[in-house]
Structures are given as structure tokens and as C-alpha cells.
Symmetry: D2
Subunit: 361 residues, 4 copies
């Protein structure tokens, strides 16, 4: 019962890795939005497997189909259903693991919780469910673009290879020009080589996706529980393989003093209030303050590796899990559009929650 | 509209720093629980100001009053309202800041969002609202204790002073024997001295609270969005001054390889399945697997410092904000019971959401 | 877990008949509303016991106290807590029924559901909980008044005494001038005499409350489930003793033909569209169309009567339940402000849900 | 944003009359349920158009397709998506009404609320959306059947032709043996003839669907707002064309006295408690008491008639709306499975909400 997200812009997702389809029903999308199907498809293409040799070779067209809520090119305010059929299911690849609990997968926990599970490709626990997130997020992005909000995510770390350049000095558009999606071309090449090496070794490695959001209006976020960063954190932590979330100064900020960390406010020539520094990450008291919002999302090395590992099966018998099939040696390049999608969903939902009532004068 | 949390065990909090009272209405608490008011009060006492010279000297009895939902010492299944009257309000302390936007506080964002604000002591954005969290969390703890779940939080970092001992080698009960709530007595003393120094300098410093949960049953968490760690993350990030959350291997896990990070499953003599390592932090695929759950919560240095700072007022005029009044130079000691409370609320809610239907044989 | 209502304007109520207090926490009230405490108190006074000899003689001041969310006379956008202390509890009146299941009360169902119950005065199942509804509804009314929405309820039936005059021919203000709250003075007198006779006989009788709402903007209601009349229906049916709800032509409309029932639309001189008739009751497809909204709410004769009745106790032993204490022989006069309050809560919530996003040109 | 219903068993529906498909995503269905697709299809067949000459002649196979959440014939606890493709769309039938506001349809209110609308066949406001309700309800029924709960709806009134026989004296299975779905064969014939006459006149007529539920466990319903009958009422009122809902003694109970209306409780030979009468309709204080639950749902004459009517178009110009296309002269026969479906969804949701925590002894 946990596959619904959002309060006003509310998504309900479905689908297993090797079921018929994955998809989403979106409630609460504003009416009258130009529904740019090409853009939505292009976002799905960014997430698609098989983009380079460092991503899984599963072949999926991932063509999105719209079933409702759009009429003559515009959203109608009614529920929008989108789905992607699963093509390259190759269920046979997984029959050998039907009773296996793979290490650090969700095989055991799903089995223990539900009493049975669709073992094919991890079933619902597969990252294939993020197709639905990206489709819904692309729609949210469409709306946000018209409101001037820009969300850009990029890879800032792979293993120990870490991007140290301050975000203000980066040209984030560069990220989309390489397979790793790192905005530093030289570092991107090192990362690519490293991931490719890991792939050849049949292993996997973790990484970090950073996000940078501009044009966000002041006032998004609903304290005391639904703070903007709290909801962003939940959204990011809900993505497969994520182990940590920090925003603004993050864990590094812990070591600072208040006198160093506080962001001094200044009035600008245009009358607006801006802060001299942005340790707050664009959010104060859980509410956006108009500065850029930035955060980091840490991904573990994915559990699927092409090596033999000890484990147990449903009966508790000792087994060897053999690495077979296709996998991503490092998920962060393909996680970039997913991070953006979830951020867009959260921001649009807060945007819609933030409506103030207009009282007559 | 963001002060409600939980799906079944649902809390609705209210109250400003210098209003009449802070409190909570709890919906969905199971009936028949022995309502141990002394325990709830003792949890509030752990959060109370004035516990030592390194915490704010605001004086509050913080006596909890129960208005409903309890009859003859037991919960009745109906809403439970608890409140704490605000005693030492000293509103005059704050009159001088009525139109000031203090740096890195929520003054500006609340004003911009709502068009007006209760400026006294930060109003709703004050950490005083956490009284309600601790009261509700104490009740959740009462229930969880009877189910064998133990939640322990402790201070693991203050500024750059960091506890490096693995949690398994710590006696966590030691934490409550010192003012800092660090389970390493010697480090606790260093931390105390450091915080006291910061206090004398009229400054503040950040820190980290770690949490360790045992006895959690297998199966808590509701993928794909309401994963156990995602909801824990949101809950922690919603606490004042929190900038980051990581669980299990966290951000450090990023640099590992899958072959190092994967937790191998083994059958135990008692028939249960356990993992040899616990990089997963007790959660796999968003569902608890029976291993200890652990996570870290990063707190920034609080914004209130006893130093002059540049800022602006509501009119955008340049002003000097003078540090006056009472404050915590480092919030993490008092944040320990708040972290525990939020963890308890999340766990109990998932416990209640996890009910499976019993079909007749 | 069912004492929360609303999606944006969200109320969370608490309190038992003979507990310490009854009250409500309101989330999502817009900021900047003039908080007219006198008006809220006056609404509670309309619901108060002891208004005439045909209502219960329980004595309650029912003075409302505001704990949060209001600053310098205005709402701040943060949660608003209001409570009313229970004064005249006279718990002894109820000790004799501690193990009794009174006929057609909720004694047995609460006991069976929760395993225990606060038996004093019906505990949570007492209509005393409607104090919280009226307080929250009064606040909603305050906001709606400024938006031009007027909600008027009145008694239209007591037993078989039925008001047959079409609502357009009534002066609804008359209702508040008599103890029965019927807008037809002569009928009100008959009703009063009848209720008083029932009271003397130690019996009770049912009735109908009608509601009439003007000034409601076009566009409230969220199909396909949260239709305006569906939510109004739920709200009314949730009031103690209600057995039925109908709006517009209601059950009488069943016998009509489409050619009789359809409301023909005409353009008015001012450019607005109006319907010639209003069988739709101001709602089409679940969305308000700008015409007056009207509905009827049927109340059963309350279960408390001053007569001996057969029943059983918790052990299943046959007992005689003796009528003692204080009761309302007919609840509809005091139900009038409750019906208005629930209607106001629903309308304001839809008003806030209806916000459309303003896209830049 | 109003097409989600339920708290645990949560349905999210989508689809327009003449869009690509209608469907539903179901969250929170228990795992391990035998997924009987034939049964679900058979329920859809009961709702299907074209069953007799007194229903619309639109031709739809209404074959349900399952996309997720079912594996090897059992539910897996993950979201279940079901859809039905729209076949016989005949969009051309509706092009002539693209700018027309038909009397007593939702054309005008949708247009006013959303600023645009899918005019084909009423778009989202068409009763075609109830396909999704019936599919979800069929699944809920599957679960409830295994729990011993039986829900039977039937037609009890068409126009002024009213079934007066007490439900206990009826053989409800008879209802499914005639086209009207009335359990009294003779009355059913009269109703059929009457509806057929109405059809020939190009008119429509209203009716009442009654429901009777047995085997419902004690304890369903969550006061004070989510009372069992309140939620049933909302669910029924959300069905197209419904104008009223009453349960138990309903509006007729208004005229009774408490001494007549109260249901006396008696202990049975098997130790259970039963009531001698059942004016309460199986629900007391909003919680089921184990007696049969019964209620009545009033449907207006549908707005679509085959006659010319005055109206206006989007520009406010006076027009004549001509009756063309296909329609149901009386919706109640096809509404029977819809009423059952919504009742099943509500009951299962309460069943799942009712889980009590099992405390260790």
C-alpha cells in the first residue's frame, strides 16, 4: 500500500520487472497544460537501458502510451494514465533463482512480508518500477518549466572519484554530453573507464547524484513535518539503492560554527532579498527562500554482481548464487533522470499545496 | 497543512514557542495499552531545557496533561490529546525582533509564505514544537516496548569530535549518564568542554545523532515510496536543524564495491535467517529484515548565536541582529529523545500498516 | 483512526463526554483570517445544552479556548487548537451503566471493537464530540462569509410534522427565533408542543434538518469519488443519529422522468448561466453550478429514553436499563448548527482544493 | 484529484468515455488471494451495456486485462492494475455537441471548473468510469467472499413502481434472473414494461437500488467521521445519478419514537448477542454490530433523453439539444453491480483498517 505519493499531484504506480507493463496514474495534474508527449518520451529515453556499454544490455523500447486525461493535446484535469509495456522480459533468465534469496536484494524481505513473490527480475523491487516515476516526473517537469523552475541532476561521484568543483563553476549542460552524466568531461572519462573496469570484473560500485534547482518560488514546503527538504529526502531515499540524502551544507555543515554557517540576508537592487552564502541550500525552516536548492543522493553499489556468492534459498538451504543475466555495474548515470523526476514531483506537489486563498479586499 | 504525520498511528501537532500551549492529538493508537504517564513525562524531561549549562536556560516544567482517549489507565482506541502549557514565555525578550529577519532562521520564509507571523521565539518554527513529537513518540515507544522493539539514540559527533567506535562495541546505556548523551564517557567530556567553550564565545556548533534499533520485526516498510528508511529519513529531516540522513553504510558505502557491500545471508541454529554483515542497516528493498536498524542524522549549528550579525527587516532595511536571550550552543544532546520519538512514531505506524489479513483455512 | 476529516482544511477532533475536554486541531486554515472568537463562541452557544426545556438540562458553559495558530487577532497559517473543558460531568450518573449495553447505543459495538470503553455518558460516541465540529465549522464559516457563501440550516420535520412550504417562500431567519429552529412560526409551536409532550412521556422522536446554501462559487467538488454532494453526504451521515441524506430532488426525484427533472440552462442578462429549475440541488456531475445547494438530513429518535428497557450486560446477562439522567427528546433543534458546521468544513475544504495553477501567459 | 478512494484498500481510477481505456490501480490488496479473473469478468458483464433492450445499445466487450500485482494466479501484495479498452467509441456521435451544454449533465460544470473538457460522451463524467469501480469491487468481493461476507443489491423501485415486500421475505437470487434485477418476478415484468415504454417515448425515469449485506463481522467502521454508514453513503452518492442514501430505518425512521425504534439486544443460545429488530441497519455508533446491513440508494432519471431540449452553448447562445445516440432509459438495472462493487470496496477497506495489534501476553 506504499505506491502512492503526493498530496495534490498524486501518483499511483504499478508494475513488475517482468509483468505485462509498468505505469502510473496521475491525479491532480492541473488542466490546460500542453501535453508534450515527445518530451516525456525523451525523459524515458534518458533512463532507458542499453544507452552505453556501462549500462545493462536489457533491450526495452520503453515507449510510453497515454490512456486518459489528455484531450486535443492538453491535460483536462482528470486522471492521466501512462504505461510502458515490458518487451524484453526473458523470464527464463530468472527461473533458476525462483527460490533463491540473493544477497542484499529484497528477495527475502518481500517473501517474508507477503508470503510469496514474483521472483522474475526482482518483481516489484526491481528498478524497472522507476519507469513510472520518470513518466510522472516528466509531466511535472513540463508544468514546472512553464513556471520557470529548472531541475538539473548530475553524477558527482563514482566510487572514490569525486567531483570537487563548486556547482556554481560548472556548466551543468555538459553532463548530458557523456555516458556517465558528469559535468566535468575529464572526470567523466575517468569514471567511465573505472565503471567499465568494474563491469569487466563482474562487480558493481556506488556513486552520488547531485541536484541543483533554480527558479523555485519562495514559499514551497509545509512545516512542521512536510518540510520541503524532508519530502525531497523521502522521495530520494525511496529510489532503489539510495543510502543517504543531504541538502545544503549537509553532513559537512556539522563541523561548522553558527557564525560561519549562517547565511546573511541582503536586499538586492531589484528589491528582492538574497543571501550572501547558501549553506541553507535554498530552504529555511522547511520552506524555499528563493535561492538555488541543492542536495546530494548517495547510491550503494547495486547488489547484482556477476560473481558467485553464498546465500540460502526459501528452505534455508545453503546455495551458491551465480551472477547471470544483465546488470548495471553502476546505477548513477541512469539514476540522474530519476532523481530529477522525483524532485519535480515533490516541487509541483508543494506548488499546488501552496495556493493561498484570495480574500476579497 | 503539514503538521499531520502517519497513516494509521497519526499525529496532529500544534503550538507556537510563546503561544498558550504545545500539544498533539494522536489518532489510531491501539486500544488496551497501559498508559504510563510517568514514562511519557520522563521522556519530556529528557528533552526539557535547562538540563545542564550547555543547554538553553529557558525554564519550563513541561508537565504533560492528557485530555482524552485514556480511561482507567488504558488507551481506549479513541483520539488521545496531550498538551504542555508554555510557562516561561518571556515574550518581551522577542519584541525587539518583531520585524527582524534573523539570518538562517525561518523568519523570512514564514513571512513570505503566510504574509504574517508570530515572531515570538520563532513561533511555530521554534524547536519548542518538538515537545509534541516527544509526547507522541513516548506513547509509541510504550507500545513498541511491549513488542520487544528498542530504540536508542546517542550523540556520535559534535563539531569535528567524532565517535569512531563501532556501535556493537559500545554500551549505549552510558549515553544517558552524561550531559552530552555520548556513550563514550571520555569523548563526552571533550564534547562537553568544547560545547561549553562555544557557548562562552556566543557561538553554536553542529553535531550528529546516531540511532540503533533492535527487536524490529521482519516486514516493516511499504515499497515503493513508503520504504522504511525513506519514511525514517523524512521524519528525521523534519526535525529542526537537520541537514542530512544516512542509514546502513550510508555515504561511505558509495565507495565500496558490490562484492564488499553485499550482506551474505546465513541460516542460524534457531532456523532464522541472519546476515553476516549489516551494510544494509537492517533494511532491504525498503523492508526491515530483522537485523539492527541504524542511521545517522546530521544537525547544523543552530542559527541563534550571541553575536551581532548583519541582516534586514521586513521593509528590507539593513539592521544589526543582536544575540540576546537564551539558546542551545549545540542541539544534539537534547535532540536525542526527539530522534528516538520520531523513529518510534514511524516504526509503530508501519507496524500497524503491516497487518496482514487472516484468511480462513 | 477515523477522527480526522478534510484534505486541505483538515480537522482532527478528540474528547469524550465525561473526559477532561473536547476539542479540535485544525490544519490548513488560510493565514490572515480575522479570528472572531465571539462568533465562534456564539456558534457553540447555539449547540449548547439547556437552551430550552425541550433540550437536555446538562449544564455546560462550553467556553472555547484557543491554544495556537492565532496571533494578534489573525490566523497565522499554522495549526489552530481549540478546546472546551467539560464542566458538568456528573460521572456518577453513569456508574450504574458501566457494564450495561443500552439498546441502539454504541455501547456494545465500541466494546466489541476496542475490548474496553469509557462508559461514562457514551464516551467518544456521545454527541458531545460535536462541540469540536461546531468550533471548527465556525472558523470555516468565518472564512466562507468573507467569500460570500451563506449556509443556513433549519428544522423541517419533527416526527410526522413536516414543513411543506418551498424553501424559496420561507424567511429562513425566522428559524433562529424559536426553540425548535423551524422557519415557520406556527409549525414551530406545534413542534415544540409535540416534543414537550414526548419529553413528558420519557420518549424521543426523530426529525429532519434541511440546509440551504447560497453564494457558493461554481466549480467546487472533485469527481469521481469526492463529488461535492458525496462529501456533504458523508459529513452529514457522520453526525450522531443521522439515518439518511438526500440533495436536490432527492428520493422524490426517483419517480420523475428525465424530461421533467432536467434543469434547463438559460443565459442571464448579466452573462451568467442559470437553470430555470433546480432539481440538481446546485450540483451537477458532483461539481457546484452556482445555483443554491440544498439537502435534507434525517435523524432517528435518539436512543436515550426515560423508560425501562430490556437489554444485556457485558456478561450477556439479561438486565433492565432504566432511563435516568438528562437527555434531548428530539435532537434536531440542537443539530442545526452542527449541520451548518459540517457543511462549512466541506465547502471550505473544496474551496481550497479547487485552486487552479496560474500559468504565465 | 478526487479519483482515489480508500485508506488501505485504495483505488485510483482513470479513463474517459471515449478515451483509449478505463481502468484502475489498486493499492493495498492483501497478498495470497486467489485471483479469479473469470469472476471479475463476470461482474463486468453484469454492468456491460447491451444486456437487453432496456439498456443502452453501445457495444463493448469490456474485457478486463490485468497488468500487474498477480503472479501464478495469486495476488502478490503489490499494486494491481486492471484496464478495459474502449471499443465502440463512435466519437462522431458526439461531435455535434462539442460546444453544447446539455441540461443536467456535467458539461457546464466541467467546463467552468477546468476551462476545457473532453466532450465525447461526457468524458470523465460518463458512467463509463464505473467499469473501473466494478473491476476493483469484484476483487474486493473475492476477498470478502472468503471472509464470509455476502453483498447483494437489487432494484426495489422504478419510477413509482415500488417493491414493498420486507427483504427477509424475498429470495434475492431471483433478482439476477430478470433484466430489471428486481427479486419480485411479477413486479420485475411491470418495471420492464414501464421502462420499455419510457424508452419508446425517448424519455428516462429514476429508481432505487437496495442493498443487503450478511456475514459482516462486528467492529467495522471508524468513528467519529469514518463511520461505516457515512463511508457507504459517500461511496453510493459518488455513483452517477445518485440523489439520496438512507440506511436502516432511514427517512421513515424519523417519524418513529425511540421506544419504537430502539433495537432490543438479546443473548442467543450460541452466546452471541443479536437484536430483536434491526432499525439500526446493522450499524450502531458507526460500527457494524453483526446484524444484516441494509441501505437504499436513490437514482434520478438520467439526463440523456431522446427529445429536443432548450439549452445554451459555450458562448451562451441559445440552442436546441437533440436527443441522439444511445442511452439507458433507466439506469438502476445496470447500477446493481456498481452498488455492490462500491459496498465491497468500503467493507474491505474497513476490514483492513480494523486490524488490532496483538500484544504479547
Amino acid at each position: 500500500m506504499g505506491s502512492i505519493y503526493g498530496k495534490i499531484f498524486q501518483i499511483s504506480t504499478f508494475g513488475e520487472s517482468h509483468g505485462a507493463a509498468v505505469g502510473v496514474v496521475i491525479q491532480g495534474c492541473p488542466a490546460g497544460i500542453n501535453f508534450d508527449l515527445d518530451f516525456i518520451q525523451s525523459e524515458l529515453d534518458r533512463r532507458k537501458p542499453g544507452q552505453s556499454r556501462i549500462t545493462t544490455q536489457r533491450k526495452e523500447a520503453d515507449s510510453v502510451e497515454v490512456l486518459s486525461g489528455v484531450f486535443e493535446g492538453k491535460t483536462t484535469g482528470t486522471p492521466i494514465a501512462m504505461l510502458v509495456w515490458n518487451g524484453d522480459q526473458r523470464s527464463k533468465d530468472y527461473s533458476h533463482i525462483s527460490d533463491q534469496f540473493r544477497p542484499s536484494h529484497a528477495d527475502y524481505t518481500y517473501f517474508a512480508k507477503y508470503g510469496l513473490r514474483d521472483y522474475r527480475g526482482g518483481g516489484r523491487s526491481s528498478a524497472r518500477e522507476t519507469v513510472a516515476r520518470v513518466a510522472a516526473g516528466a509531466l511535472a517537469k513540463l508544468v514546472l518549466h512553464q513556471l520557470g523552475v529548472r531541475i538539473t541532476a548530475y553524477v558527482s561521484q563514482v566510487g572514490t572519484l569525486k567531483l570537487e568543483t563548486p556547482v556554481e563553476q560548472l556548466d551543468l549542460r555538459v553532463a548530458e554530453t557523456n555516458a556517465v552524466r558528469c559535468p566535468d568531461t575529464q572526470l567523466a572519462e575517468k569514471m567511465f573507464t573505472y565503471i567499465d573496469q568494474i563491469r569487466k570484473e563482474g562487480d558493481s560500485v556506488g556513486g552520488v547524484v547531485s541536484a541543483y534547482i533554480t527558479g523555485c518560488p519562495i514559499g514551497l514546503g509545509e512545516p512542521v513535518f512536510d518540510k520541503l527538504h524532508a519530502e525531497l529526502g523521502k522521495a530520494m531515499l525511496s529510489i532503489n539503492a539510495v543510502k543517504g540524502f543531504e541538502y545544503g551544507s549537509g553532513f559537512d555543515g556539522v563541523a561548522l560554527r553558527g557564525s560561519q554557517h549562517n547565511d546573511i540576508i541582503e536586499k538586492q537592487a531589484d528589491g528582492s532579498l538574497r543571501t550572501l552564502t547558501n549553506h541553507s541550500g535554498g530552504i529555511q525552516g522547511g520552506i524555499s527562500n528563493g535561492e538555488p536548492i541543492y542536495f546530494r543522493v548517495g547510491f550503494k553499489p547495486v547488489a547484482t554482481i556477476m560473481q558467485d556468492q553464498d546465500s540460502v534459498n526459501e528452505k534455508g538451504e545453503k546455495i551458491t548464487v551465480s551472477g547471470k543475466g544483465r546488470h548495471d555495474p553502476c546505477v548513477v548515470p541512469r539514476a540522474v533522470p530519476i532523481v530529477e523526476a522525483m524532485a519535480a514531483i515533490i516541487l509541483l506537489d508543494f506548488y499546488l499545496r501552496n495556493r493561498v486563498i484570495q480574500m476579497p479586499a
